[in-house]
């Protein structure tokens, strides 16, 4: 009795009795016989960015198994033994199986965390033909959110799953269901899943760091900037819980990007805010960023665990657990410290104040913020132009030796330009902004690689200096030496690539793209 074919779901109206459907409607079209009653608890998991959902799947734990099922039919795609009920887990740590492969294909950095637990009360019936042969299974499911038993069930629905070879016969019954609109309606599992998530206040696909604000090109820049700041603050706030629960490193990463974007809006849009007011906030955001620097660095090393193993020959790998254990211990400590800060009154008071500031609609005094009333487009074009020229000017001045400080500084210039392009992307025609971002991205990647490798070499060097000598530590020192040599080579590779990459960026074609962008009529 393999019931893995496409089922239908028929959601019963809240005021309709399931018995009525069962006794009158179904009995008139087919024979049904009671089969079983069972209760199940399903605990749903997904990432903060809903990557299982986006790929058309739901992930849940049922009994002692973790199941990956089709979002529309809830047919099982694969499953694996899963005894515990962790708050979160990384797919890469599941035992080698199809499930692990599938989940890892959705994301390699995000952790899956517990969304909610529902209780299913299922009464099943056999649907039979004239020979009393089962041709499908009809299940009446009553769904409730676990631990909210006192409330009425969240929803009640029938599902009909045809048995192999009996799709046509079941299809005829489905048609009868579909015609009884006054009793309920046909839907797919995705809709049921969404209603479960809604009941537990999860906004499916409600999180994105992409700035998609549809700014008004003619609105005062102050108004647009306030909207940008509201957005960056909302990203920060949405990530706080994930940071606290240590689900994955992306929460802190997005939190930090939001801080940088916030600072960038205030600092780069000159004359838009009252500096007497913003200086204090800028300082706080700067400190907040600094407070997370080390924690982020440790996150990055932990993410690169496999890569570090790959960098070394087999005989230099054994001491690495010592290195990573040390990193993990430091991480635990710093994480705890930062979480304490997130819960502190100084942070919450600051955020409350800031939230108040960015919601202010009244433009600041013109003598303190002379550009606040200028149109968004004017300021956007002007600041992008300046930032772009700066990148070109500084890039051209990078010496033949391409020193570390030159590349570090240029990387920051590029980042600033990138942020501006992202902030104002909605007021430019997409066909002009996308190629510009693409060109810039390549240069940023080169500079990003350089700085990343440089930071890693420096970090390892510092760790090496504090290592005591003798025994296991000497072996670890050898491994770290091996890592530093490899990383240094990669850093130098990135350095060598710089001039060629910059030439491609500092080119007539890019210049034309920027020209097109900055002279284009705003699309919105």
């Amino acid at each position: 009795m393999s019931a893995l074919l496409q089922p239908i779901f028929f959601k019963i109206n809240p005021d309709t009795s399931s018995e009525l459907v069962l006794n009158n409607l179904l009995a008139s079209v087919c024979k049904v016989a009671y089969l079983s009653t069972k209760k199940d608890r399903l605990t749903f998991y997904d990432t903060f960015e809903w990557q299982a959902y986006e790929n058309g799947f739901v992930v849940y734990k049922k009994k002692n198994h973790l199941i990956l099922a089709d979002l529309h039919s809830r047919n099982e795609a694969c499953s694996t033994a899963f005894q515990r009920l962790p708050f979160s887990f990384f797919p890469k740590y599941l035992p080698g199986c199809t499930m692990r492969e599938q989940l890892c294909s959705f994301t390699d950095v995000r952790g899956f965390f517990r969304l909610c637990t529902v209780e299913e009360h299922i009464r099943s019936y056999r649907i039979m033909d004239d020979n009393d042969k089962t041709i499908g299974i009809l299940s009446l499911t009553s769904l409730s959110i676990a631990d909210r038993k006192k409330e009425n069930p969240l929803t009640q629905y029938f599902s009909i799953r045809p048995l192999k070879g009996y799709q046509k016969e079941i299809f005829d019954i489905e048609k009868v269901f579909a015609s009884y609109e006054e009793l309920g309606r046909v839907l797919d599992f995705k809709e049921l899943f969404l209603s479960i998530m809604k009941a537990v206040d999860h906004n499916v696909l409600g999180y994105s760091t992409k700035i998609d604000l549809n700014l008004d090109a003619d609105a005062p820049i102050y108004t647009s900037a306030q909207r940008l700041l509201q957005f960056t603050l909302s990203v920060m706030r949405q990530n706080e819980a994930g940071i606290r629960k240590n689900i994955d490193s992306e929460f802190l990463h997005d939190f930090r990007v939001a801080i940088r974007r916030t600072r960038s809006v205030i600092k780069q849009l000159k004359g838009v805010f009252d500096p007497d007011e913003t200086t204090r906030y800028l300082d706080f955001f700067k400190e907040l960023g600094k407070l997370t620097n080390e924690l982020r660095d440790l996150d990055v090393y932990l993410l690169r665990r496999e890569t570090y193993y790959d960098y070394l020959p087999l005989f230099l790998q054994p001491p690495l657990p010592l290195f990573f254990n040390d990193i993990e211990a430091s991480h635990r400590l710093l994480h705890k410290k930062f979480c304490r800060f997130l819960g502190s009154s100084s942070y919450t008071t600051f955020i409350t104040e800031w939230n108040h500031v960015i919601k202010r609609e009244l433009l600041p005094d013109a003598d303190k913020a002379p550009n606040a009333a200028l149109s968004t487009k004017t300021v956007a074009v002007d600041s992008i132009k300046k930032a772009w020229r700066k990148v070109i000017r500084h890039g051209r001045h990078v010496s033949k030796e391409t020193t570390d400080s030159e590349l570090h500084a240029l990387r920051i210039d590029c980042k600033k330009l990138r942020y501006l392009l992202e902030f104002f992307s909605s007021i430019f025609p997409q066909n002009t902004i996308i190629p510009v971002i693409k060109q810039l991205k390549e240069l940023q990647e080169n500079l990003g690689d350089f700085v990343d490798f440089a930071v890693q070499v420096e970090f390892l060097h510092k760790r090496l200096e504090v290592l005591s000598s003798g025994g296991e530590k000497s072996l670890l020192a050898a491994s770290m030496g091996g890592l530093m040599a490899t990383l240094f080579q990669k850093q130098e590779e990135a350095r060598r690539k710089f001039h060629r990459t910059f030439r491609l960026f500092d080119h007539d074609e890019t210049s034309q793209l920027f020209h097109d962008l900055l002279t284009s009529n705003s699309a919105t």
């Binding site: 009795m1 393999s2 042969k133 192999k164």
Partner: protein
């Protein structure tokens, strides 16, 4: 995928009862399983209350893979599917003779099923024809139920002679006794004689009125009467056969 043919030249020896009961046990213990009803009488299809679709016939069966796939039906038992037979199967031999390489036809036609099933059972019609030869080529085991009588022994010898004469692999043949009535001396003597004969399984299936009643229950014995002596005997037979298959 392992294929097991329930085969005997002689009729009424319990081929269908064995195919139905063993396939059920296989689906229970080593799923998933398919039973192919090759007998135009459609007894195993009947036991599972399954009728072939109106469009299905011997022609579609001979077309193989996809046509077979779309006509497989689920039984009422988890992980056990059935390819029903159709009355048109009575002409299967004639149609088969018109095919290229008819003896390899069945094996080729079922190739795609290996992704879906771990065990496939053939419930064969009682004769020795081209279809039987195609079954022999497609099967890993040819399981021959025998009533402990002289006539049954004779048909068994006919079968092994046929294998030898046609240079077929007789090591695939496994015989076992069914409808055994211990009170009959002849039954006891024959079983004793063949107890250690090569290719004979030791487990026997007792004569049990419940086996005959399967036609009323229309379900495998282990699903409805698991404590009956025949149900227990089928369980032991399946155990012996799977051990045998593992060693193969």
């Amino acid at each position: 995928m392992k294929t097991i043919a329930l085969y005997s030249i002689k009729g009424g020896v319990g081929k269908t009862a064995t195919a139905v009961n063993l396939s059920y046990l296989s689906a229970l213990l080593a799923p998933p399983t398919l039973i192919c009803d090759l007998d135009p009488q459609g007894a195993s299809s009947y036991y599972f209350r399954i009728a072939a679709s109106k469009k299905f016939n011997s022609d579609k069966f001979l077309k193989g893979n996809k046509k077979i796939h779309s006509n497989i039906k689920a039984t009422d038992f988890e992980n056990l599917d059935l390819l029903p037979s159709d009355f048109s199967y009575r002409n299967l031999d004639i149609e088969l003779s018109e095919e290229k390489k008819p003896k390899k036809k069945l094996k080729k036609n079922l190739e795609e099923l290996s992704d879906d099933y771990r065990f496939v059972f053939f419930d064969c019609p009682p004769n020795l024809t081209l279809l039987s030869e195609s079954v022999f080529a497609a099967s890993d085991i040819i399981l021959v139920p025998m009533i402990p009588t002289t006539l049954s022994i004779r048909t068994y010898v006919q079968l092994t002679d046929f294998f030898d004469a046609n240079d077929l692999d007789s090591s695939k043949i496994r015989a076992f006794f069914t409808m055994v009535e211990k009170r009959k001396k002849m039954h006891r003597d024959i079983i004793q004689e063949f107890r250690n004969a090569p290719g004979f399984l030791r487990q026997t299936i007792p004569y049990n009125s419940e086996v005959e009643k399967m036609g009323l229950y229309r379900a495998p014995l282990n699903a409805v009467l698991p404590n009956s002596p025949a149900a227990k005997a089928y369980r032991n037979l399946w155990k012996e056969l799977t051990t045998d298959l593992e060693q193969k």
